[in-house]
């Protein structure tokens, strides 16, 4: 936790150029889309999946997005019903962030 202020400082400096949140969502979506959803499940970064038997409510979201990228709508729905809305919402959020940045960035300075 002691690293957080340093991370936030760099984050805010980079944010004056482009909102990082608007970069992170597409990068995450592309990474998930390029994943093989049918591959063998080796390791999960999710701490909930180490502890809980059934995982957390977000389990399957990544697979759902990977199936969507391959056009397998039914498999995506089976993996996580929110996969398609998640993609749309994240892209919408990126759009509105970039719009906000265009209209207000001239007042941001660090």
């Amino acid at each position: 936790m002691s690293q957080l202020p340093i991370v936030r400082n760099y984050w805010q400096q980079a944010n004056t150029w482009v909102p990082l949140e608007a970069l992170l969502w597409p990068v995450g979506l592309v990474l998930l889309a390029s994943m093989d959803p049918a591959g063998v499940h080796l390791f999960s970064f999710c701490p909930f999946s180490w502890v809980l038997e059934n995982g957390c409510p977000g389990c399957g979201l990544g697979h759902g997005i990977a199936y969507l990228a391959r056009g397998e709508w039914q498999a995506a729905w089976a993996a996580h019903p929110l996969a398609a809305p998640a993609v749309l919402l994240l892209l919408w959020r990126c759009g509105s962030l970039l719009y906000f940045h265009r209209t207000h960035s001239n007042h941001l300075k660090h």
């Binding site: 957080l4 909930f48 957390c56 990544g62 996580h80 929110l82 919402l89 994240l90």
Partner: protein
Amino acid sequence: MASILHLMPDLEPDEMGYIQTLVKPMNEDEARQFASIYRSRRREPMLLLVTTIVGFFGVAGIQRFLTGQIGMGLLYFFTGGLCLIGTIIDLVNHKRLAYEYNVKQADQVIMMMRHGR
């Protein structure tokens, strides 16, 4: 020409910079009216930080609801903060989220005051 520093000394530096550009052309009365409306509408970055941390222990996405992003809030709520990743992003990003929301609110208050005249 009014100064926001005297009316609202509790603002964040970025936010103050932006609000000052809005308040500069106002007279003292208008600035006071603006400050009182704006104060009731803005969100403290600390509130967003605390509600983000709540996302690690149970209900995720409150910070997105508080900044008017209902869709993102629902998505966070039903997916455990996008498998915690979204919650971690917001932990670092909470000041920016607050700034974004507050600037939009300030713009709205200005619009309201123009209409009310």
